[in-house]
C-alpha cells in the first residue's frame, strides 16, 4: 500500500509541476484533477520512449523515467523562474455544500470500493486493455503488445498505466479508472465554479457523479472514461481561452487533446471540432498562429505512437480507409440516404426512447441529463450567442459522432452496431462530450441564478 501511495503522490507532483509551467490560473480542484490525468500520461509516455530506446519495463526503469521527467520539468521551471506553488485557497464551506460534498464523496468511495472488490471482468477490458497491460508487465517490454491483445492500433497510455499498477496487484489496476472518475469530477467542479456559482457547481458535479453511465464506466476498465476526461478538460480550457484570450489555456487544451490521442485511437476525430472552432475564432481575431500552436503539442504526442504502431507493431487502423471512403462520398455527393435515416433513428431511440430518461434508471443510461439540456436550451435560447463557441464545439461533436456511424455503415458494419446487441456504443462514444452538455446546461442555470441572486 505504501509504495502505491508514494507512486501516486509522485504522479500528482509530476502532473502539477508540468501544469504549473503553463502558468494557467487554476483552482485547487482543477489542479488536483489535472495533476493526476497529465502526470499519469507523461509518465506512460516517458516509459514508452524508454522502451523505444531499448530499456526493459522494470521497477528501475520506471523510477528512472519518473526522475528524468521531474528533472526536465524542474529545470524548465527554474529557468522560467516558476517556484513551487503549494498554496491552496480554502473557503469555509456552507451546510448545503457540505451535504452535496458528502454525497459526492460517498459516490467516489463506492467507485473505489468497487474497483478493489471486483476484478477486471468486462469483455473489452480483458481482451484489449487488460491483456496488453498484463503482457507489458509480465514480459517486461512495451513491444509485447505486438503479439498480445486485440486491436494493436490502439495507443498505449492505458495499457502502460495498467502495467505500472500491476506491480501493486489487480485491485490497484482498476483504481486507475476510479481515479480518472475523481479527476473528471474535480476538473468539472473547479471550472464550473470559476465560470459560475459554487452551489450550481456542486449540484452539477453531483449530477455528473451519479449519472449511471459515468459511474458504470468508473468501475469497468475501459479507456472511454480516461478519454472523456482528456476531451472534456480540453474543451473546457479551450472555452476558457475564448473567454480570456489567454494562450496558456490554449496550450493546456492542446496538450489534453494530444494526450487524448495517446489514449484512444479515435482521439484524432475529436480534435477536429476543437480545431474548426478555434480556426473560426482565429480568423475573426486575426490570430493566425493559434491553430498551428494548437496542433504542435498534439503532434508531439501522436506522431511517436503513430510511427511505432506502423513500423514496429505493423498495425494499420481500419478507420483511416473507411474515413477516406466517406469523405470521397461526401465530395461526390454520393451519400447513402438510407444509412443516414437509420443512424438518425438510432440516435433518436438512444436519446429519447431507450432507458436514458425512463423512471427506472438502467445501468447504461444517462439519467435525465439529455432532456434537462434541451429544456434549458429552449428556455435560454436568447443567450445562445454568449456560448456560441462552446455550443458549436458540441454541435460539431454530434456531427463527428454521426460521421463515425456513417463511416462504420459504409464499411459494412452498421447493422452489427445498431442491431446486434451493441446497444451501448452510442453512450460510449457520447461519453466524451456528455460532461460538456451538463457543463453548458449548468453554465446557463448558473448565469440566471447569479443574476437574480444579485438582484435580491
Amino acid at each position: 500500500m505504501i509504495p502505491f501511495v508514494l507512486l501516486f503522490i509522485c504522479i500528482l507532483f509530476l502532473g502539477d509541476s508540468f501544469t504549473s509551467t503553463l502558468k494557467c490560473k487554476l483552482g485547487c480542484w482543477e489542479r488536483f484533477g489535472l495533476a493526476y490525468g497529465l502526470g499519469l500520461a507523461i509518465f506512460t509516455f516517458g516509459t514508452f520512449f524508454s522502451s523505444l530506446l531499448g530499456a526493459p519495463f522494470s521497477k528501475g526503469t520506471l523510477l528512472l523515467v519518473l526522475l528524468i521527467c521531474l528533472t526536465v520539468i524542474w529545470c524548465f521551471k527554474t529557468k522560467s523562474r516558476i517556484g513551487l506553488n503549494l498554496r491552496i485557497r480554502w473557503n469555509k464551506p456552507r451546510l448545503p455544500m457540505i451535504i452535496l460534498g458528502a454525497i459526492i464523496l460517498l459516490v467516489v468511495l463506492s467507485s473505489l470500493f468497487d474497483s478493489v472488490v471486483r476484478p477486471i471482468y468486462t469483455w473489452d477490458a480483458l481482451a484489449i486493455w487488460g491483456t496488453k497491460g498484463k503482457a507489458i508487465f509480465s514480459l517486461g517490454s512495451v513491444q509485447a503488445v505486438k503479439d498480445y491483445g486485440a486491436k494493436p492500433y490502439y495507443p498505449l497510455n492505458i495499457p502502460i498505466a495498467m502495467a505500472v499498477f500491476y506491480y501493486f496487484g489487480e485491485p490497484f489496476v482498476k483504481s486507475i479508472f476510479s481515479l480518472y472518475f475523481v479527476a473528471i469530477l474535480m476538473v468539472f467542479y473547479g471550472s464550473l465554479k470559476r465560470c459560475g456559482c459554487g452551489y450550481v457547481a456542486s449540484a452539477g458535479t453531483l449530477m455528473l457523479a451519479v449519472t449511471p453511465f459515468v459511474f458504470f464506466h468508473s468501475t469497468i476498465a475501459y479507456a472511454n472514461l480516461p478519454m472523456a476526461f482528456y476531451y472534456m478538460a480540453s474543451v473546457i480550457y479551450l472555452y476558457q481561452f475564448f473567454r480570456d484570450n489567454n494562450r496558456s489555456f490554449l496550450v493546456l487544451s492542446s496538450i489534453l487533446v494530444g494526450v487524448g490521442c495517446w489514449t484512444r485511437a479515435e482521439g484524432l476525430i475529436w480534435l477536429f471540432p476543437n480545431l474548426v472552432v478555434l480556426s473560426i475564432y482565429a480568423l475573426m481575431r486575426k490570430q493566425w498562429l493559434d491553430p498551428i500552436l494548437y496542433l504542435a503539442p498534439i503532434l508531439a504526442f501522436f506522431l511517436p505512437w503513430s510511427v511505432f504502431s506502423h513500423y514496429i507493431t505493423g498495425a494499420r487502423s481500419p478507420y483511416a480507409s473507411s474515413a477516406l471512403q466517406s469523405v470521397r462520398q461526401l465530395f461526390t455527393l454520393n451519400l447513402e440516404t438510407a444509412y443516414i435515416w437509420d443512424i438518425l433513428r438510432y440516435f433518436y431511440r438512444q436519446i429519447f426512447i431507450k432507458e436514458n430518461w425512463s423512471v427506472v434508471h438502467r445501468v447504461l443510461g444517462w439519467g435525465y441529463v439529455w432532456p434537462f439540456f434541451f429544456c434549458i436550451l429552449v428556455l435560454y435560447c436568447t443567450r445562445i450567442r454568449k456560448y456560441s463557441y462552446l455550443l458549436s464545439i458540441m454541435g460539431l461533436d454530434i456531427l463527428a459522432l454521426f460521421s463515425i456511424y456513417y463511416t462504420v455503415a459504409i464499411s459494412g458494419g452498421l447493422y452489427r452496431v445498431l442491431e446486434v446487441g451493441f446497444n451501448n456504443s452510442f453512450n460510449r462514444v457520447t461519453l466524451y462530450f456528455f460532461p460538456l452538455i451538463l457543463f453548458q446546461t449548468m453554465l446557463l442555470v448558473s448565469d440566471d441564478i447569479q443574476r437574480w441572486g444579485s438582484k435580491t
Binding site: 463506492s110 491483445g149 459511474f215 434508471h361
Partner: protein, 157 residues
Amino acid sequence: MKKSKPALVSTVRRVRYILMLIVFVVVFVLHVQGGLHLILGRLVQDLRELGSSYDEKMKRRWGRYYDFMCFIQENTPEDANILFPPQSSLYPRVGNLGLNSYFLLPRHLHHGNQQVLRNLRPPVYVVIYKEFPPFKVEGSRIMKDSENGLIHYRPKP
C-alpha cells in the same frame, strides 16, 4: 405604452427563472435519487462479493469459459503455441484470442488450419471445443470433460 414593454420583458424573465428553477429542482431530485439508488444497489452487490476469491468471482462472471481457460493454463507449458477455433457466432468467447490471452499469458495463441499447425514451433496444442478442430490432429488428448479438451500435437516423423 413605452413603460409596459420593459415590464413585460421583466415578467417574462421572472417566469423563465421560476420555470428554470422548477425544471432544475425536479431533474436534480429525480436524477440524483435514481443514480444513488443504482449506486447503492451496486454497493450491496459488492459487499456480498467481499468474501469471495478471485476464481469464484471470475467463475460467476464467465462461467464454463473461465473453467476452460484455467484447464488450458494448467495443462500447457508457458512457451506453448495453442491453436484456437476462429471467432464466430459459434465460438464468440473461445475464438477471441485477445480475451484468451488475458488468462493464458505468455502462451502464444493462433487461429488457423492444418497448414498453420504444421508451421508452429513445439510444444503445440490444439483446443477441442464444440466442432473444432474440423480436421484430424495427430497427438495425445487431454480431456477436461467428454466434449472439451486439448490435443498435444505430435506429428509422426
